[in-house]
Subunit: 203 residues, 2 copies
Amino acid sequence: MQKTKRAAYHHGDLPRVLLASAVEVLDERGPDGFSLREVARRADVAAAAPGHHFGNVAGLLTAVATKSFEHLLADFARASEATHPGRERVTALSLAYVRHYLKRPGMASVMFRSELLNAADLGLVQARNDLREALVSAVQSALPASVPQQHVEDTATAVWTLTHGHIALGMQDTEDLTRKIAFAVDALLSGATCSTGKKTKRS
Amino acid sequence: MQKTKRAAYHHGDLPRVLLASAVEVLDERGPDGFSLREVARRADVAAAAPGHHFGNVAGLLTAVATKSFEHLLADFARASEATHPGRERVTALSLAYVRHYLKRPGMASVMFRSELLNAADLGLVQARNDLREALVSAVQSALPASVPQQHVEDTATAVWTLTHGHIALGMQDTEDLTRKIAFAVDALLSGATCSTGKKTKRS
DNA sequence: ACTGATTCTGAACACTGTATAGAATCTGGA
DNA sequence: TCCAGATTCTATACAGTGTTCAGAATCAGT
């Protein structure tokens, strides 16, 4: 109960508050309209305070992006537990991916804006790799055990890019996005299953 | 030969020069580091000059994006002429899409940054629709004539999102991007062909 | 040669991120 | 208890941004 106007110095956990404010600003204005000073304003601190804790705007956004990856990984875990291995699971992950963008637009919007982030940040690449691993293992479970690892990796990449593409191309509000995604994932896995390897006949 | 320092007022076609300068700046600094004043500096005009011709930064970037769509459409036309109808052609378009991002990174980088553009601009949506139409007709040619139109549309969307996703996820510099794309497009079309409709058996 | 419209300039305003110096507060010994 | 020292935050300053607006410079037509 010590917060009325400005909790003064050392008010506990400024970093956490700044992160929350940053997400708020991202939700309202997006990554382009984002402003460090606006974050500071909402947290009721001086304009230079965020810089002290996160270095610069890239540092703060990197923290947001990392958190976003972790949230999504948790969603993946839930979706995996709720489904059987196989295509059903892959589709579930893909839909969870889309829903993450719909329900947490601010956080999600910076995940791949690498020009705005410290792209080499260890926590960030770790979180991103964890996510990919989860997807790869789901795809693994949806393909015959006979297919080579390279094949699995490429299919996982395809599922990811396919799903992400729907968001990047601005199809978020389409009502039948779910149908589109489900269709595409199913077609992709069908193709990856039946055409085990070469299919490019003719000259 | 009338340009030494500043060609003064009415130097002919400032809009065109500004567009070229804008692409230059985008090439070097990307859409985030972009600056109207920097564009004005390179065109050797006052800072407010771009605003006079394009309204604001969104107007200028919209013009760039529209030009980018038109360039890509021309690439699509060339790729279509150079290939037979069918999967081969779809793959060719997909690869042309990727190459457009590699060879004209500045222009391409704003095509889908709708927060930075006048998203409702008529020329822009026209150019985007033309591009989609070209892709749909290629996909049409790669699927049996029996498949319903909805099916074709969804497959075209899938090819587009799949291709775009590779770029959006930052896989531009990967050496084997071509292989990944070709693999994914082929798998997708295989799946869209053989599994004509429902495939979701089991509970 | 004059008039009006067009094209661009220059200055101003409200923003932005970040660097810096210093104030306010916490921490851990004596 | 009191007093360094380190930590956390403030206040100020600076260079840069987009956009607006009055007005100067030029063109086009009569």
